[in-house]
C-alpha cells in the first residue's frame, strides 16, 4: 500500500473520524506521503476526503488513530500549532486586510517583526506570480488571484505539510489548468510535502506523484497515476476511473477463458475467476472476423450506437453478440450503427481484477461538463 518514496513526511495510521459514535465518516485510514512529494487524495463527493484532511489539520478530533508529521505525532497539538498549512476550497481571505496583510497574517501570529514580514510576503507573492499586489484590497482580486493569495498565505509560514482542499474547483476549466501548473511548479520549487484533495481524476493525474483513491471512507488504492489506469487494483477502482469494459471469466496462466472464447492476458495474474478490464481507448477496430475463437484476441462485435463527442467518438458494442462494451475512436473513423465488425483487445491493455460482489452503484466521478454546471 505504501507508495512513498524515501522518507515519509506525513503518516496517517488507522485514523477513524466520525461525528457520531459507531458511524465513522473516515474509517481506519492508512496513508503515507513521502517528503517533498505530492499525493492526490481522489474520491467522489461525500467520500470523506475533506473530513480526513481536516482531521490531519486538527480541525476535527480523531476517534482513534495517529497522525505523524516529520516523524513526530501531532495528535496532541491544537490546529493552530500544527506544522501544517491548509488551503480551503474557498479563498477565505480576510476582507478587512490588504493582500499583503492577508499573506502576513500567520507571520504576525508568530510575532515576526514588520520588516521581516514584509520581506517574506513580497517573496511569496512573487512565487505565486502576483508581484506588487501587496497593497491591493482583497475585493479587487479575481478568483484565480484570490486562490493564489490563499496559497501564498499558507506557504509563507513554511509548513512541513501543505494540505489543499479542492482549491481550484470553483475556477473555470482553463484557469484551473493554469493553476494546476502553478501549483506543480511551486510545489517542486519549495519541495513541500503536499496532500491535495480533489474529485477530478484529470486534476489528480496532472499534478500528483501518487494518487490515493478514497471510496466510502476508505483508501481503495494508492499508487502512481499510471497504475491506476493500466493496472487498477480492484473493480471499484477501475469503475471509478470510468469507461472500463468488463468481461467476466477465469484466468489460467496467460489464458483467460470467457464467453468470447479464450483470450491472451499479460503474465503475472493470479489464477482463478476474475474480471478482465480493458479501457475503451485501448480497443482496436478491424474487419469482420470469420470465427469466434478469440485467436489473436480478436472478437466479433455488433455496433449498437455511435456517439460523436467532439474530440473523439464512442461506439457502443455487443462483443460476441451479447457482452456490452464501449470503444473510443478518432472522429474521422467511419463506423455505422448496426455494422458487424471485429475488435482486437491488445494483450498489454488487458488486466484482470478479482471478482467483487459489490452492486453496480459505485459512485461515478462527475464528468467535466457536470462539474462546470455544478460550479
Amino acid at each position: 500500500m505504501s507508495a512513498a518514496t524515501g522518507r515519509a513526511d506525513l503518516v496517517v495510521e488507522g485514523v477513524r473520524v466520525g461525528y457520531r459514535p459507531g458511524c465513522p465518516v473516515v474509517d481506519d485510514i492508512d496513508l503515507t506521503v513521502g517528503a517533498g512529494t505530492l499525493t492526490a487524495l481522489l474520491g467522489p463527493s461525500g467520500c470523506g476526503k475533506t473530513t480526513l484532511l481536516k482531521a490531519v489539520a486538527g480541525l476535527i478530533t480523531l476517534q482513534s488513530g495517529e497522525v505523524r508529521v516529520g516523524g513526530s505525532s501531532v495528535i496532541e497539538l491544537p490546529a493552530e500549532r500544527r506544522p501544517v498549512g491548509l488551503v480551503f476550497q474557498k479563498p477565505l481571505l480576510f476582507p478587512h486586510l490588504s493582500v499583503g496583510d492577508n499573506v502576513a497574517f500567520g507571520l504576525r501570529m508568530r510575532g515576526l517583526p514588520r520588516r521581516a514580514r514584509r520581506e517574506r510576503v513580497t517573496r511569496m507573492l512573487e512565487l505565486v506570480e502576483l508581484p506588487g499586489l501587496t497593497g491591493r484590497r482583497v475585493g479587487e482580486l479575481s478568483g484565480g488571484q484570490e486562490q493564489r493569495v490563499a496559497l501564498a498565505r499558507a506557504l509563507v509560514l513554511d509548513p512541513r505539510v501543505l494540505l489543499l482542499d479542492e482549491p481550484f474547483s470553483q475556477l473555470d476549466a482553463d484557469l484551473r489548468a493554469r493553476m494546476r501548473e502553478l501549483l506543480g511548479r511551486v510545489q517542486r520549487d519549495l519541495g513541500i510535502t503536499t496532500l491535495f484533495v480533489t474529485h477530478d481524476q484529470q486534476e489528480a493525474v496532472d499534478v500528483a506523484d501518487h494518487v490515493a483513491l478514497m471510496l466510502d471512507g476508505r483508501i481503495e488504492a494508492h499508487g502512481p497515476p499510471v497504475e491506476f489506469y493500466s493496472r487498477p487494483a480492484t473493480l471499484r477502482v477501475a469503475r471509478f476511473l470510468g469507461g472500463t469494459n468488463e468481461i467476466p471469466g477465469t484466468v489460467s496462466g496467460r489464458e483467460f477463458t470467457c464467453d468470447l472464447g479464450t483470450l491472451e492476458v499479460p503474465s503475472g495474474l493470479a489464477d482463478g475467476p476474475g474480471v478482465l478490464v480493458v479501457r475503451p481507448e485501448a480497443l482496436c477496430p478491424g474487419a469482420a472476423p470469420t470465427n469466434l475463437s478469440g485467436a489473436g484476441n480478436v472478437v466479433p462485435a455488433t455496433v449498437t450506437a455511435v456517439r460523436f463527442r467532439g474530440t473523439h467518438q464512442t461506439a457502443e458494442l455487443r462483443l460476441g453478440g451479447a457482452l456490452p462494451a464501449t470503444m473510443t475512436l478518432s472522429p474521422a473513423f467511419r463506423i455505422a450503427e448496426g455494422e458487424e465488425i471485429s475488435v482486437r483487445l491488445p494483450v498489454p491493455a488487458c488486466h484482470v481484477v478479482p471478482f467483487e460482489h459489490t452492486p453496480q452503484s459505485i459512485p461515478s466521478p462527475p464528468t467535466v461538463e457536470g462539474e462546470r454546471s455544478r460550479a
Partner: protein
C-alpha cells in the same frame, strides 16, 4: 459621483424636518395666519445654554452611550450564539431574545420596577440604563445574529490554521467581519435610548432628567419656543452619529446584507 447619492439623500431627508423647528425656536409669537413668526426672540436659543438643559444633555448622552455599549456587548454574544451555532432549542432562544421587543416595554418595566426599588436601583442612572436594555438588546441581537449567520465559519478555521488562538480569532477575524453590523446596531440602541421617555420617567422617578423629559415638560406647558429649542438639542446628536456611520448605513455593507437575510 454615484457614491454620494446615498449620503446626500440621507442628509436632505433628515435635515428638512429640522427647518420648521429652527423657525419655532426663534419665534416669540407666531399665530395663525402669519406665514413667518411675528416676533423674534433669543430666549429659545438661550435655553440651549441653560444649566438644566446642559445637565439633561449630559445625562442623556451618558445613558444612551452606556445603553449602546452594553446592548452591543450583549447582542454580540447572543447574536454569535444564534447566528453561528445550531443547538437544540435555538428557535426558542431566538424568540426569547426578541420577545422583550414584542411585549409593550411599559408592562415589563412596571413589573421590574419592584426589583429595581428593592436593589436600590430606582431613581438612579444605573437603573435607567438597565431598564433601557430591555427594548434595545433584542434589536442588536437580531442584527448581530444575521451578521454572524452570514459569516463563513471556515474563516475562523482558516485563521486557526494560520496560528491564531481563540482570542485572536475573535478579535482579529470575526469582529472586523461583523463590525459594520455592530456599529449600526449600537447606533440603533443609542437612538432608542435617546428618545426613551416613559421608562426614564418611571424608573428615574423624575430624579434622572434626560432631554425627552424636559421636552415633554415644555410641551405640557405649551411653551413652543422652548419645545422647539429642546427638540433641536435632541435632534443634533443623532444627526452627528448618522454622519459618522453613514458609510455603514448606505451601500452593500455586511450590515445591510444582514438585514436582507432576516
Amino acid at each position: 459621483m454615484r457614491r454620494a447619492i446615498g449620503p446626500t439623500a440621507l442628509a436632505v431627508g433628515l435635515l428638512l424636518p429640522v427647518l420648521p423647528l429652527l423657525a419655532w425656536a426663534v419665534s416669540g409669537q407666531w399665530r395663525y395666519p402669519a406665514l413667518v413668526p411675528e416676533r423674534l426672540t433669543g430666549r429659545g436659543l438661550g435655553l440651549i445654554a441653560d444649566r438644566d438643559v446642559l445637565e439633561a444633555l449630559a445625562t442623556s448622552l451618558v445613558i444612551a452611550t452606556a445603553v449602546a455599549v452594553l446592548a452591543a456587548a450583549l447582542g454580540l454574544g447572543a447574536g454569535r450564539a444564534v447566528g453561528m451555532y445550531s443547538f437544540p432549542g435555538r428557535g426558542v432562544v431566538q424568540f426569547l431574545l426578541l420577545a422583550p421587543a414584542l411585549v409593550p416595554t411599559i408592562a415589563v418595566a412596571l413589573g421590574i420596577q419592584v426589583f429595581l426599588i428593592r436593589y436600590g436601583l430606582a431613581d438612579s442612572v444605573a437603573g435607567v440604563v438597565l431598564v433601557q436594555l430591555i427594548p434595545t438588546v433584542p434589536y442588536v441581537s437580531l442584527v448581530m445574529g444575521a451578521a454572524f449567520a452570514n459569516l463563513d465559519p471556515d474563516v475562523e478555521d482558516q485563521a486557526r490554521m494560520l496560528g491564531a488562538g481563540p482570542v485572536r480569532r475573535a478579535v482579529l477575524v470575526a469582529l472586523p467581519a461583523v463590525r459594520p453590523a455592530l456599529v449600526v446596531s449600537a447606533f440603533l440602541a443609542f437612538l432608542i435610548s435617546w428618545s426613551e421617555y416613559i421608562l426614564t420617567l418611571l424608573v428615574g422617578g423624575g430624579t434622572v432628567r434626560t432631554l425627552p423629559l424636559l421636552l415633554f415638560a415644555a410641551i405640557g406647558s405649551a411653551d413652543y419656543t422652548a419645545a422647539a429649542a429642546l427638540a433641536l438639542v435632541i435632534a443634533v446628536p443623532p444627526l452627528v452619529l448618522i454622519g459618522v456611520t453613514s458609510r455603514f448605513l448606505t451601500g452593500a455593507t455586511p450590515a445591510t446584507v444582514g438585514f436582507g437575510r432576516l
